[in-house]
């Protein structure tokens, strides 16, 4: 079966319904929730605060430390609780994705802790986590040069699509599935995070960047609205996945 339409009926460049909200964790300095359809992340920020052990401190700048935690019940078959090689890598790329837009020189010797929980997973969990984390940083009032927004672009068979689901990620027919999560800065469209799994020709790679720019612009609008206090919940029921 060739891939001519998306399993949930979306347009190729259409995002899933979005949920976005700030202030979901009262104790935190900043917090946010972000959902791409049924992929749901919450993030909380604590800091800047003194970094211990002290030998990790940087005299000229602060550090961002991220912790991505996919909860055991967020996936269909229970995931083992606690850190895994996968979660450690995602934590690292998340910290990297956020660090370049935060003015860390202002906070020498400190750390900003970003804690991310994935409550429900249907692909694109790292992107939902980064989107929530970026909002939580802004919500904490931490000085940022610009926002970042994150989206997983896919090449499913020969189509470039935005915000892919598990079903699309697992596509095997035709050219199969390529999963390309991007994180872009809101104004300058710099890439702060890029990963790729699958198979895509160099000639089509720029197409995926263009799709990411378009999708991230939309996501940025949601992030801004939520940061202004709006509670966004587009609980639009999509056509059930076939």
């Amino acid at each position: 079966m060739p891939y001519t339409k998306r399993p949930d009926g979306r347009e190729m460049d259409e995002l899933r319904p979005i949920k976005a909200e700030v202030g979901v964790v009262p104790n935190a300095d900043g917090s946010a929730l972000f959902a791409h359809g049924d992929t749901l992340a919450i993030a909380a920020v604590y800091g800047p605060k003194p970094l211990h052990p002290a030998h990790l401190q940087k005299a000229d700048r602060g550090l961002i430390r991220a912790n991505y935690n996919m909860l055991p019940f967020s996936v269909t078959e229970r995931a083992r609780p606690g850190p895994s090689r996968r979660s450690k890598e995602i934590s690292m790329v998340t910290a990297n994705a956020l660090s370049s837009v935060v003015d860390l020189k202002r906070f020498p010797g400190t750390v900003i802790d970003v804690e991310i929980l994935i409550l429900q997973a249907n692909a694109s969990t790292r992107c939902a986590g980064i989107n929530a984390a970026a909002m939580a940083l802004a919500h904490a009032g931490i000085v940022m040069n610009e926002m970042v927004s994150s989206v997983s672009i896919g090449k499913i068979d020969d189509k470039i699509v935005a915000d892919i689901t598990k079903k699309e990620e697992d596509w095997t027919e035709g050219e199969g599935a390529t999963d390309i999560p991007f994180t872009l800065t809101s104004n300058t469209k710099e890439i702060t995070h890029l990963q790729l799994d699958g198979k895509i020709s160099t000639s089509r790679m720029m197409e995926s960047y263009d799709a990411a720019v378009k999708a991230c612009e939309k996501i940025y609008e949601y992030q801004k609205r939520a940061l202004k206090g709006e509670k966004i919940d587009e609980n639009v029921s999509l056509k059930k996945e076939e």
């Binding site: 104790n27 909860l71 019940f73 929980l117």
Partner: protein, 273 residues
């Protein structure tokens, strides 16, 4: 991390007049709000808020070989983590002793009450039984996470439905569900914790009150008939309680049970529909 508790003296002096910082009575709970169905891939899930305290709980079912001393009974495992998200004092890493204690106290209340009909979780005696995994995460700690965890675990279990089990292949088809609920009984265990601050007893402390407490007692109580059955008990923290305290705790626990838990049970049952 030990944070200075600047309100401790004030809490204690107010308590000597039977008063609290937020003007509650000694054994009053803050508002308890339960939501269910918070995570669609879990077999059952719930969010419980007690005031600003929030926990989320998910139940996953799987299969395993039974323990040799209970060859026809299902199994249960309860995990709990204070996510570093839930407060300034928490750090990452494997669950620490307070999280382990919370998980074990919640686990015992459920296990000992007979709330789950273990024999109905047997698929093939001696070979395959259902395993129930309860995972509790604290998202925001403003005191009394223990009671919130127990209420959340009960709510999530009451929402749990079985995934499809392929008898021929002898394995679970994860991501496909039946409408069959977990086999539960009327012996619904609810845990409540009474704290001792100075020489006063109180329920449902906020974070500052909990920090000021020197001892606590958790009781998981079910009431299948007319009697209040204590299914598990645990005294926590360093200080002692005396016989008078224990008597008072038992008296108050019955009152708290009647005041709070039938209402919660009703709240959860209305969410089941």
């Amino acid at each position: 991390m030990n944070l200075p508790n600047i309100n401790k003296k004030r809490i204690e002096s107010l308590l000597s007049q039977d008063k609290r910082l937020d003007e509650r009575k000694l054994f009053d709970y803050r508002d308890i709000i339960i939501e269910t169905g918070i995570s669609g891939n879990a077999e059952g899930s719930a969010r419980v808020r007690i005031g600003k305290t929030e926990v989320i709980v998910g139940v996953k079912l799987g299969t395993q070989t039974p323990y040799t001393d209970h060859e026809d009974e299902g199994t249960m495992i309860t995990g709990m983590e204070f996510s570093p998200m839930c407060g300034e004092r928490y750090e990452g890493g494997p669950p620490k002793i307070n999280a382990i204690e919370t998980a074990r106290v919640v686990d015992r209340g459920i296990r000992e009450s007979g709330f789950i009909d273990w024999k109905k979780l047997c698929i093939k005696e001696g070979e395959t039984v259902w395993s129930v995994a309860i995972d509790i995460y604290c998202v925001n700690d403003d005191g009394n996470v223990l009671d919130a965890s127990s209420i959340g675990a009960v709510a999530a279990l009451m929402m749990t439905r079985f995934p499809v089990y392929d008898e021929k292949e002898e394995k679970v088809k994860f991501g496909e569900w039946t409408n069959d609920p977990l086999p539960l009984t009327e012996k619904v265990p609810f845990a409540m914790t009474i704290y001792k601050v100075g020489d006063k007893l109180l329920a449902d402390p906020n974070r500052e009150e909990e920090d000021a407490a020197k001892a606590r007692v958790t009781l998981a109580i079910s009431k299948p008939g007319k009697e209040y059955m204590i299914n598990s008990m645990q005294k926590g923290e360093l200080d002692t309680i005396n016989g008078e305290d224990l008597k008072k705790i038992l008296e108050e626990s019955e009152k708290i049970y009647d005041k709070i838990f039938p209402e919660l049970d009703k709240q959860i049952k209305s969410l089941q529909k």
